[in-house]
């Protein structure tokens, strides 16, 4: 049973460019969340997708956008990259159960470096 997978593993971009990161959720999961983790910090919530809609959003600018596909996989897009966008981007998947708690399973992350 494959866990959460992310691609690419590493990415180097230049300021002003755009980037797309991809995530495949754990088998059977229907909800995908994205987090940004700067060096030495904990992950910060970007947004969550469920039923192909953005359900919740953290305190991130509109340069950060996402998409969820019918097969539940997801993409994170970042436009007009800044040096401060350099971070580990984590994807987490879960199964919506209507309960107050749905365990989130994290992928290995994509390390983005902006030069």
């Amino acid at each position: 049973d494959a866990g959460v997978t992310q691609s690419p593993t590493h990415l180097i971009k230049t300021r002003g460019q755009q980037v797309t990161l991809r995530c495949s959720p754990k088998s059977g999961h229907d909800t995908v969340s994205w987090y940004q983790q700067a060096l030495g910090q904990g992950p910060q919530f970007i947004f969550q997708y469920y039923e192909e809609e953005e359900r919740q959003r953290g305190n991130f600018p509109d340069r950060f956008s996402g998409h969820q596909f019918p097969n539940y996989s997801s993409e994170l897009n970042v436009n007009a990259l800044l040096l401060g966008d350099s971070a580990l981007y984590l994807c987490a998947s879960s199964l919506e159960s209507g309960d107050s708690y749905n365990e989130q399973f994290f992928g290995p992350g994509t390390r983005l470096t902006v030069l």
């Binding site: 969340s33 987090y35 030495g40 910090q41 904990g42 992950p43 910060q44 919530f45 969550q48 359900r55 919740q56 953290g58 984590l90 987490a92 309960d99 107050s100 708690y101 749905n102 365990e103 989130q104 399973f105 994290f106 992928g107 290995p108 992350g109």
Partner: protein, 110 residues
């Protein structure tokens, strides 16, 4: 949602010793989770304790929760080198986003 604040920021112990880290939070919660992150296995969910529970065990892990003091603790007994990681507490008041603090960095030396 709110984030927890872990204490200490860093902890260095020898193999076989116990490691204790604490977490404080500000408002009422439904449950509190602990996560571990290391370079080998990424970010992994360790244990969840619900607001009506006071203590929970999982293998060498023991978690306590004191809702009156808005605090939690994680104890790792008989630590191993593989326990070297960052540990995060995540208090949760609703489903959805998880808010992480800076974590406690634990180093276990042989």
């Amino acid at each position: 949602s709110q984030q927890g604040e872990e204490d200490p920021q860093a902890l260095s112990i020898q193999e076989g010793e116990n490691a204790t880290m604490n977490c404080s939070y500000k408002t009422s919660i439904n449950n509190l989770q602990w996560y571990r992150q290391n370079s080998g296995r990424g970010l992994v969910h360790l244990i969840l304790i619900r607001s009506n529970e006071r203590e929970k065990h999982s293998g060498r892990l023991r978690v306590t929760l004191d809702t009156s003091k808005k605090s939690s603790s994680l104890l790792i007994t008989a630590s191993r080198a593989a326990d070297t990681a960052s540990y995060f507490c995540v208090p949760t008041d609703s489903w959805g986003k998880l808010q992480f603090g800076a974590g406690t960095q634990v180093v276990v030396t042989p």
